[in-house]
């Protein structure tokens, strides 16, 4: 892509080609303004695509094999370990890393932190895709995935935590689709639809906070069904859901930092100046939030140990592992992030964000797999299950990248002045002078 841009190519970021009345066709938009031959050429030249291709070459047949011969053929999921890596990673790790959507939505739309708005859409997309793929992981793991709508329409286990998870994840998914659709409507040149989404933003954001609080917490509450099975250091009946919710705040914020870092390295051509110029400052702002969440998380983790008087466990082997999780997953990122924030070094902050993501992922894997059934034996995932996880994660990257290439997530969609008046008229309050309209472009999302 870099090569083609260096030869003067400019990817589509407005409704029509420069200085013409013609609109881009959908096909042109999908190909970013390249000919199919050019598009295919640049895709083949990208070595990362070869890696993805190799993964799918192995993974897709494996996925078919899984559905033809059942879970037993590809996993070590056993009677003792019903939840393996597909859920341990796909659901319990992906969901906290996708808390970014509601966090940035809240910061920008509720707390009025408009300095973060350049990264808001990326965070919303990260949230939507993370949840969507958590469901894909779930579908691959469920015994009878075609029955997934049952808790919605057929049989209601209303007292079950998983019932809340199912309902909240599905409603939250639709909320996130609505939030992200604004960018899609701009890209499709449907300004009325985009305007409608804009209008209901605050409502959507508030529902997003409610639903996120509840099901991020609910994922933790799922483990309170297994008091004897999860090691006491990771188990806290009263605090489990707060632990999961609180750590998801740090995880979600840091995930946005990690993703934006990768984007800056690999996809800078798709970002506009507003995104790139503000990225370092926004990274540091996000890291401040993550620090607060991490400190709180550490405090309530210790509080849980004290509340259940589990200090004696710290001297055991499991205790060492627990302390490692705290040191590596909370304290180390906290030190790196604080140092980076204090010196205003975005690079160091990014390192800390990466450590945070790994740390929270470790916590979820500990709860779901490692410290689970601690009195029985350790389960090591089947190679095919690992490969399935890699495959679905690769699919996540492909979809993520495809959307970032096209929709105005990292850049703003430039609407021509001709379309401007109707969009502006609506928003002029009484007593405020009309802004000069000599601007060449304006952001329809503003």
């Amino acid at each position: 892509m870099k090569a083609i841009i260096s030869r003067g190519f400019k990817p589509i970021d407005s409704p029509s080609p420069d200085n013409s009345a013609r609109r881009w066709t959908l096909k042109e938009k999908l190909l970013l303004g390249m000919t199919p031959r050019q598009y295919f050429g640049q895709a083949v030249c990208n070595p990362f695509n070869w890696v993805l291709g190799l993964i799918f070459l192995i993974g897709v047949p494996l996925l078919i094999y899984r559905f033809a011969f059942g879970l037993g053929a590809v996993t070590h999921s056993s009677y003792d370990y019903p939840w393996g890596l597909l859920l341990g990673f796909g659901l319990f790790v992906m969901v906290p890393l996708s808390a970014s959507g509601f966090l940035l939505g809240t910061a920008v739309n509720i707390f009025g932190r408009h300095d973060l708005h350049h990264i808001e859409r990326l965070a919303l997309l990260n949230g939507l895709l993370g949840y969507f793929f958590a469901v894909v992981f779930l579908l691959a793991d469920l015994g009878q995935p075609w029955r997934l709508p049952y808790p919605m329409f057929v049989a209601f286990g209303t007292g079950a935590v998983l019932f809340l998870v199912a309902w909240h994840v599905s409603t939250y998914l639709s909320v996130q689709v609505a939030e992200v659709s604004e960018g899609f409507f701009e890209w499709m040149n449907w300004p009325q639809a985009a305007k409608f989404v804009k209008k209901i933003t605050v409502g959507l954001t508030v529902s997003a906070i409610i639903l996120s609080t509840l099901h991020q917490g609910a994922l933790g509450a799922l483990f309170t069904y297994a008091p004897g099975k999860l090691h006491p250091l990771w188990y806290a009946a009263e605090f489990q859901w707060i632990h999961f919710f609180c750590s998801s705040i740090a995880a979600g914020l840091c995930m946005v930092i990690v993703v934006s870092t990768i984007i800056k390295k690999t996809m800078a051509w798709r970002c506009d100046a507003g995104f790139l110029d503000n990225l370092d400052a926004q990274t540091i702002t996000l890291a401040k939030g993550a620090c607060m969440a991490l400190i709180t998380y550490f405090a309530i983790k210790m509080l849980a140990v004290a509340h259940d008087n589990e200090w004696a466990y710290l001297a055991t082997g499991w205790g060492l592992w627990f302390l490692f999780e705290l040191a590596f997953g909370i304290l180390l990122p906290l030190v790196i992030l604080s140092y980076g924030i204090r010196r205003e070094r975005a690079g160091i902050v990014r390192l800390g964000a990466f450590a945070t993501v790994l740390g929270i992922a470790l916590n979820r894997l500990n709860c779901a797999l490692i410290a689970f059934n601690w009195r029985l034996y350790q389960e090591v995932p089947h190679w095919a299950e690992v490969m399935l996880c890699v495959t679905i994660f690769a699919l996540y990257i492909v979809v993520y990248r495809a959307i970032l290439y096209r929709l105005p997530i990292l850049y703003s969609w430039k609407a021509k002045e001709a379309h401007a008046p109707e969009a502006v008229k609506e928003r002029i309050p009484f007593g405020v002078s009309v802004r000069p309209s000599h601007h060449q472009v304006f952001r329809t999302r503003d």
Partner: protein
Amino acid sequence: MSRRKFLAASMAGSAAATLSLTSGAFGAALLEGYPDGMGVLVDMTRCIGCRSCEAACNKEQRLPAPDMAFDDPAAFDYSYHAGQKRRTTEAAYTVVNRYEIKGEEQPVYRKIQCNHCNEPACLTSCFVNAYTKTKEGAVVFNDKVCVGCRTCMVACPFNIPAYSYSSAFNPVVKKCVFCYETRLKNGLPPACVEICPQEALTFGNRRDLIKIAHQRINDNPGRYVDHLYGEKELGGTSWMYLSSVPFEQLAFDTTLGREPIISNVKGFLGAVPMVLAIWPALFTGFHLLATKKKHAEGHQDDHHIQEDDKR
């Protein structure tokens, strides 16, 4: 959108969400049991490890032929994952394990199967209501609605439910159903009880069984540990055990306590309607506070991004 309209909409939304999501049963307090509930008293001092109960179960539930014959004592030496004794599987709803106890002349045999809890964790954790506790005391399973999430297996404190992982198109949870359809419903004892040659298994009304058990302990204090396992554990189970050696030596979990599993989850379930009720007002309040300054300055009529972001 005007603020009034937004507030009205969010109130309506949260009210609807509250009604739809919290109308479930949030679990009862400690249950005293089911008045007509039947149960089985397992007297492990009488069991000789003949495994005829396993064979009877296999026949009654039409399970596949076992890997090892039911009279093959080698089954007692089987272990998986270094030290795990046999457990219930999709092909064996009950198994008998042998424990060599120091200081005892005879080994002790322990039969395991679903204990049919008074307040089952599997039932309360199931999001499609696949489990039912019948008035006769059996915990039965409806495989027509099972989605295959396997949360019940995570929740069961006794590690009982198994899953037909080998099935590609209709994998479901498998466990002892107290021979509900074929026997219990008609007042008959389950197949394993009927066949037991040692009368190690006693079928009857759960309340009567508790009396019988305590009677046995009182009559033979030297023979029994003074504990009826399952009488109080996790709110009580329909199947209860008497033992001559401390239960923990037979791999019984003696740390489970008396509260049913759902008690651990109640804290969260109680927080759900609170979050639904408090969050909308709280965050709308934050929003109003955070954007007030801009209204005072007369920038925008609403919460949208202000001038300085426009180029």
